[in-house]
């Protein structure tokens, strides 16, 4: 139990706060085609791609919860959506144990698309109307593309954040 609390959980919080701060101060004020790139989500999907679906889901939950606490969305909504995103990206680990960067990026993009798309759909489900518009057709590809581009750069941080070490293949020398 202490290992759970003081291990990756402690790393998730400061990294998550820093990511949220960067999201608020940099990515929110420099939109691309009026779409705000989701740095926190990119970190979540990178964590998923690095650690698998369960770690991705937990990273999404924690970082999404910070997002919810900071914003006006119902607490748990973005946490759930990002949890789905992280989990989706993490499925790359079920296919390839050590994915190449471009495979990880691809899954990160899919995970980011799921995470970003989940927010309006979950909002709709709990009664917050008006989030599902045709604008999603522009938003989702841009957010997913940005996550794919950021994924290789964020993978080392995400790996450290969720407590995953790269496998080292040892050559048997006779």
């Amino acid at each position: 139990m202490p290992r759970v609390l003081f291990g990756p959980a402690l790393r998730l919080l400061p990294i998550g706060l820093l990511a949220l701060s960067l999201q608020r101060l940099v990515f929110a004020v420099h939109p691309v085609h009026d779409v705000k790139l989701q740095f926190v989500l990119a970190l979540v999907v990178a964590a998923g791609a690095a650690g698998g679906p369960d770690r991705g889901a937990v990273a999404g939950f924690v970082l999404g919860l910070l997002y919810d606490l900071n914003g006006t969305t119902p607490l748990g909504l973005v946490a759930l959506a990002y949890g789905f995103g992280g989990m989706t990206a993490g499925y790359v680990r079920t296919l390839v144990s050590e994915p190449q960067w471009w495979i990880a990026s691809f899954f990160a993009a899919v995970g980011a698309a799921v995470g970003e798309l989940s927010v309006p759909f979950l909002g709709q489900m709990i009664g917050d109307d008006g989030w599902i518009t045709s604008r999603l057709l522009v938003e989702i590809p841009i957010v997913a593309g940005a996550a794919a581009l950021l994924c290789p750069a964020l993978m080392p941080i995400a790996r450290w954040m969720v407590g995953v070490k790269r496998k080292k293949w040892k050559v048997m020398v006779e």
Partner: protein, 342 residues
């Protein structure tokens, strides 16, 4: 971290926790609201400050690199805008000054009791030997040859040529300009005259008391009657002095640009002693005059006695500044046609 839980259980736990939180928050939970407040103020604010310290210089540097052209364009546009606004400011100030000038011009013509047409000087004489200006009103506004032209300070000349929409004004300083004028003694002079014994035959004082203010310069108080109230420890004593206006008439002639006008007395026996520097000169009026009675012209600046003669040449400086004319008023006074021809 998740060794003790299976993958599915972890995900299920996450989903259920989220659903629980959403439910609590949607139903309105004060704990969550307080948690949001604490998170925003105590946690996010310091993190934002720290992030900003690092990010802001980088962001500015990046902006400087990537948006240099845009910033330059924006700066140029703002510079243009500032210049435009400065221009507008100057225009507004000019409009205010012109309005004040216009008001002064119309005040004088109103005081004279004649209908006037306000005009603007639109051109100067191309010649060095003609002292004229062109104004932007003509026959279409009722302007005729010979009509006197004034500005806010006094007479400036007369109309010599008239076209439908513009006219030529011969300025009073032109050597070909002449008008009947009179010198009015100032109140101080009158007081002096009443005290000093007057040599007989030198001048003929006009002892009539002015009854109308139209004979006086527009900006002077009525000198005919002055009331003085003295207040001291003694009971206040009010004294009323009736002043006399003394007139000397003559022909006022121009001498050229930058030179004062010369007044030659009609009566060669006019006394030199009655004319003093500082006396007011205005139009004398009359049937043969180009202008009505009482338009201010200027003040006496020099009195020259001709050697071997009792005649005096009086130099008069115009009230109006002819080199700075802008708005003028043409008095719709139709002078005697014989006078116009002169």
């Amino acid at each position: 971290m998740f060794a003790s839980l299976s993958r599915r259980r972890v995900i299920l736990l996450v989903v259920l926790t989220c659903l629980l939180l959403i439910t609590l928050d949607k139903r309105g939970n004060p704990v969550i609201d307080r948690a949001r407040g604490v998170f925003a103020t105590l946690i996010m604010r310091p993190v934002d400050t720290a992030t900003n310290t690092v990010v802001l210089p980088l962001e500015r540097a990046w902006d400087g690199i990537t948006n240099y052209d845009d910033l330059k364009k924006e700066r140029d546009a703002l510079y243009d805008q500032v210049q435009h606004m400065r221009g507008n400011d100057v225009k507004a100030q000019t409009a205010i000054l012109e309005a004040q000038e216009l008001l002064r011009v119309t005040e004088l013509s109103d005081a004279l009791g004649y209908t006037a047409v306000v005009a603007q000087v639109v051109g100067d004489s191309p010649s060095n030997f003609q002292n004229t200006v062109e104004i932007n009103v003509g026959t279409a506004r009722g302007v005729k040859v010979g009509m006197p032209v004034t500005d806010g300070a006094g007479l400036i000349g007369k109309i010599t040529k008239v076209f439908p929409d513009h006219s030529i004004v011969l300025l009073a300083t032109d050597p070909s300009y002449a008008i009947a004028a009179q010198i009015l003694a100032t109140p101080e002079e009158v007081a002096a005259e009443t005290e000093v014994s007057t040599p007989s035959g030198i001048f003929v004082p006009d002892s009539t008391t002015t009854s109308s203010t139209t004979t006086l310069p527009f900006d002077l108080p009525d000198p005919a009657i002055s009331t003085t109230t003295t207040s001291s420890t003694l009971p206040p004593v009010t004294t009323t002095t009736i002043l006399q206006i003394i007139r000397e008439t003559g022909a006022l002639e121009g001498q050229g640009i930058g030179r004062p006008l010369v007044l030659r007395f009609t009566d060669s026996s006019s006394a030199v002693t009655s004319v003093r520097v500082g006396s007011i000169v205005d139009t004398a009026g009359g049937n043969s005059s180009l202008a009505p009675h009482g338009i201010p012209i200027g003040i006496v600046t020099r009195v020259v006695t001709e050697t071997g003669s009792s005649n005096a040449v009086v130099e008069v400086t115009l009230n109006a500044r002819l080199e700075r004319l802008n708005f003028v008023a043409v008095l719709l006074f139709e002078p005697n046609q014989n006078a116009v021809g002169r």
